[in-house]
Symmetry: C2
């Protein structure tokens, strides 16, 4: 089979369809080892190898081209109403400088995305999406109700600064004020003389920032300034790190969360308003689905390092299917293998022994109380 | 720059996120040279090289894994109404065995996709999409109006049989009845004992069929039967052929048609109902946009073979921008270079001389009356 002859990777030609951010050339020149496609754009898969990327992210600081985190701008008098229609999370008390992680759902309560919502003003939001064209949901609703909003994709490319030295690096460019920025809050900083949004957020548990870079001009200049300013901090180009995010149980839409799952199955029930509908189109359906029969669980998979995961791996009790593993990694710091499982209620109790059917054969595995290293 | 060192291609690891059809292993084993990602799935870019794939497609018959053509099933009493809300094409006279190519639009008349609509029954449709999550538009509308429909992605993977000998190959499996099937009509055939939809359609101008294969069981058996039955027809594995489709002006959503374009700009004005709104949410906006200031045009680009196109190429009058080239190819049968241009009205008259700024430098080019080889 050719599949094995190319060792789990295929060739991906660059085409008009595979969009790239203004940071892409710099990030690529820094040695990106491969790419996947996400929101019709390219995002790097790694740089120095899985373990080195992981250890460096946990000890220093990295700059990530996460331009694939597309924004949906929703602005106008009906903006808050439209955003609320897409999510069961109550947005009533959200403040102008806040970011919220929001599950978004259809009318059956199934997840359509899991964006970070950035409130810029009372009637202006950015929905910073994971991998689905959620803009089409907002367009469908806005058209049907003739809402007084604009819904469009602005020319914004997030750049993440992640790792324990992220504060030190960001402070070099934007001053010590950034150290005071609280988690999931945002502020304005000047980049090439223009105000841009800097949020304390990012797709790692190491902490850091995401800069919502606007337009394409000056992107490489900023990249170079960060690399120069961070020289003594051992700054490197990076990208979301599979091992770091999987061991900590950070979920990925279209891998761990699939469009047939509710927020309750994804373990996001605490984000769903229960007593009263805040205005979400899927709220009534969700109310009836608060007791899921399967849910995301941490799974420790025994043995040495795992093969690269190309497909869902069945989880069984040795006999019948009791779930699936959607993402897996070597959790280097914990000297074990971590998996993100979607596990049936019959087997989700911590300590339950199961089998994980990897592409290299079955492995003994155990349901864990929680993921690794996060709390 | 690493970009040039990998010669226009990057490594694409196979992951859970990069979905594959049940035909993928067979197609891959037949020698797929690379993949792009389309509707969150992999589709091959070529097999034996651009010119050989092209000549073979035009002279024999190929079997294509086009499982990336995802279906949105819309069924129930409000199905026809919901589908009509998404498109300015009047669906009132559509018959149960018909397929329609439909531009779909948002309320501003901008294109959200360009699917083939398959009518299965009066209240049951498959919207066979190009590369965007159009299902989210339908879900948004259905939720808002509480429509009596189901909207979901069925487990269907189209397999295309394309080329001048497509009828001969299809007839070997399903009898001479398939020869009578008219363009964009569909019928039921038996595959592994189950009825499935066979349509005379496909993303080439050579003619042929698309089988809407349901489920995953028996896919490889069918593939093998086609390869065996077509041995004397020189059947080969294939995939949509860039040179064949570009020279003929077959458009591709997210390359040639972008979400900032109307059907009129895409040259699809004849598909838009003009006198009366058939029920489309974008119809009123479209009415005011019937006279576009830019439109798709065939562009002949002078000189020898072109470099691979990785980005839009600017079209200029030597001084200022007058458009872009979104797709290009060597039109081998016509011994020239063909481009799909989006050209400003000031320069779209056939015979107008322009410059195309390729990644290897500017080339003289001419606006053509029509594309090559189609009519």
């Amino acid at each position: 089979m050719l599949q094995s002859s190319f060792n789990g990777t295929a060739k991906l030609p660059l085409t008009v369809r595979m969009r790239r951010s203004p940071f892409w050339e710099r990030s690529n020149a820094a040695g990106a080892q491969g790419y996947i496609v996400y929101n019709h754009m390219l995002i790097a898969t790694g740089f120095a190898g899985p373990e080195e990327d992981y250890r460096h992210l946990k000890s220093a600081v990295q700059v990530w081209d996460v331009g694939v985190e597309r924004q949906i701008e929703i602005s106008g008098p009906d903006a808050a109403k439209l955003v609320q229609m897409s999510t069961p999370r109550d947005l009533a008390r959200m403040k102008d400088d806040q970011c919220y992680y929001i599950p978004t759902v259809d009318r059956d309560g199934f997840m359509t995305n899991d964006p970070v919502l950035v409130r810029l003003e009372e009637d202006r939001y950015w929905v910073s999406i994971s991998d689905s064209d959620l803009i089409l949901f907002y367009k469908g609703v806005a058209a049907t109700l003739n809402l007084n909003v604009e819904v469009f994709e602005p020319d914004v490319y997030p750049l993440a600064i992640q790792g324990p030295k992220a504060d030190d690096l960001a402070a070099k460019l934007w001053g010590d004020q950034v150290r005071e920025l609280r988690f999931f809050r945002q502020m304005s900083v000047h980049v090439n003389g223009k105000p841009m949004i800097l949020a304390r957020s990012g797709y790692s548990v190491q902490g850091g920032f995401e800069l919502y870079f606007e337009g394409r001009d000056g992107a490489e200049k900023l990249w170079d300034e960060l690399m120069e300013a961070g020289r003594d901090l051992d700054v490197r180009a990076g990208t979301p790190c599979q091992a770091e995010r999987v061991e900590a149980g950070m979920l990925s839409y279209l891998s761990d969360i699939t469009p047939d799952m509710t927020p309750f199955e994804a373990g996001l029930g605490s984000m769903c308003a229960t007593d009263q509908n805040p205005g979400c189109l899927g709220w009534s359906a969700l109310r009836k689905k608060q007791s899921p029969s399967r849910q995301i669980r941490a799974v420790e998979i025994s043995g040495g390092p795992l093969p690269p995961q190309k497909d869902f791996w069945l989880v069984s009790d040795g006999d019948r299917s009791v779930g699936r593993i959607s993402s897996s990694c070597r959790a280097y710091d914990f000297d074990c293998n971590a998996g993100i499982g979607l596990i049936d209620a019959s087997h989700w109790t911590p300590g339950t022994k199961v089998q994980v059917h990897t592409s290299d054969g079955p492995r003994a595995a155990t349901i864990k109380e929680k993921f690794w290293g996060r709390f």
